[in-house]
């Protein structure tokens, strides 16, 4: 059924080792994700619709035909790869207007604190030490939900899912209070700045599409 595949998260996994690709693919499948694996950063960028100029690898242009038909909810990449490292890939993704909203996770077999903080500073959501375990992947859902919600907010929203706002409850009291929006307001602004924190807390505690029935949630 069409809805079935649309609701699965699609992850792009990047690793130069065949063995590691097999592992991460199975881990992701077991976590109910759709997976595409590639063996290099440049192939990852190609898949995402960025054309890499071989003569000038620092110049990236968006491939005219590819309008990112494939919706990727997360990129998970190995750090140590020949040519373009996972860190390089992370930078290129975050520098691209088209791709920067895609969460990126870095994996490495080496526990180098300087490496970890550099990646997190550059915008990586998580840094996983290999071997990656099934339990690690549960941390991915909140990050992937963000992109799903963002993309879905651009489609017409079902009326039953939004509760009409009550005038008394306007202020955001604490980060655990969810702001109830009137029907006509778009969800998109909700995902920016300090409201994002509230959203994140809803998302991480309730994996299904948030239902705005309760005015306050205790986290």
């Amino acid at each position: 059924m069409v809805m079935e595949t649309e609701s699965k998260f699609h992850v792009l996994a990047v690793d130069d080792s065949l063995f590691d690709r097999k592992m991460i693919e199975r881990l992701l499948q077991k976590s109910s994700c759709q997976v595409t694996t590639v063996d290099s950063g440049s192939k990852a960028l190609e898949f995402l619709g960025l054309r890499v100029d071989d003569n000038n690898p620092n110049a990236l242009s968006t491939s005219p035909q590819i309008h990112q038909e494939v919706e990727i909810n997360l990129i998970i990449t190995d750090y140590c790869m020949p040519g373009m490292t996972g860190y390089d890939l992370l930078k290129k993704v975050k520098e691209s207007a088209a791709l920067r909203s895609i969460p990126v996770v870095i994996m490495s077999s080496e526990n180098v604190p300087a490496r970890i903080s550099r990646c997190l500073e550059e915008g990586a959501e998580e840094f996983f030490l290999k071997p990656v375990k099934l339990a690690d992947l549960t941390k991915l859902k909140p990050h992937m939900m963000k992109t799903k919600l963002k993309n879905e907010s651009e489609k017409p929203v079902a009326i039953e899912e939004i509760v009409v706002s009550k005038p008394e409850i306007e202020k955001e009291e604490a980060s655990s209070v969810i702001e109830i929006l009137p029907l006509h307001q778009e969800l998109e602004p909700m995902l920016s700045s300090n409201k994002r924190k509230a959203m994140e807390e809803v998302i991480s505690t309730d994996r299904s599409r948030p239902k705005y029935n309760d005015i306050t949630t205790s986290v």
């Binding site: 063995f19 590691d20 592992m23 199975r26 077999s109 290999k130």
Partner: protein, 155 residues
């Protein structure tokens, strides 16, 4: 009176436990088993096979590099052992992983003798593990053929 299936299951359970207790396997192997299901019923066997192929290839590369007396490419040895350490870690091959760590140290200090000795040990160790896992898989097959279920073994 013990049925054949019950006997085989007990053998399987005991053998599995011994592999963990003797340090051949660690709990990453347990993690691997979690990934096996009806969608991917041979996952562990496939991954383990890939691992042993990796062992063969990488050990051969390192042996060749160490053979170039006077002109040993320690960088190559280093990157090969790094790969092997990674895959042995992912598979739960505890002893192999431990030896890879030692080999890496020898390589980093360009200790030729140490590297040669260590590599020999890695070679012996992966072959030993390969034989033991083969025995374990054979036991599994015997259980299935006898019409039984493979028991879940909690370490």
């Amino acid at each position: 009176m013990d049925t054949l299936i019950a006997q085989l299951q007990r053998q399987f359970r005991d053998y599995t436990i011994s592999l963990y207790h003797q340090g051949f396997l660690d709990d990453q192997f347990t993690e691997l088993k979690k990934l096996q299901d009806e969608c991917s019923p041979d996952f562990v066997a496939e991954v383990v096979t890939l691992f042993f192929e990796d062992c063969e290839k990488l050990i051969s590369n390192m042996a060749r590099a160490l053979d170039q007396t006077g002109n040993v490419d320690f960088k190559l040895v280093g990157s090969s052992v790094h790969q092997l350490k990674g895959s042995s870690s992912s598979v739960g091959a505890k002893r192999v992983k431990g030896l890879c760590i030692t080999l890496k140290e020898c390589c980093d200090s360009q200790n030729y003798e140490g590297c040669v000795r260590c590599l020999q040990q890695v070679d012996i160790e992966y072959k030993t593990l390969k034989a033991k896992l083969q025995d374990l898989f054979n036991l599994e097959q015997q259980i299935v053929q006898a019409g039984g279920r493979i028991p879940q073994v909690d370490i």
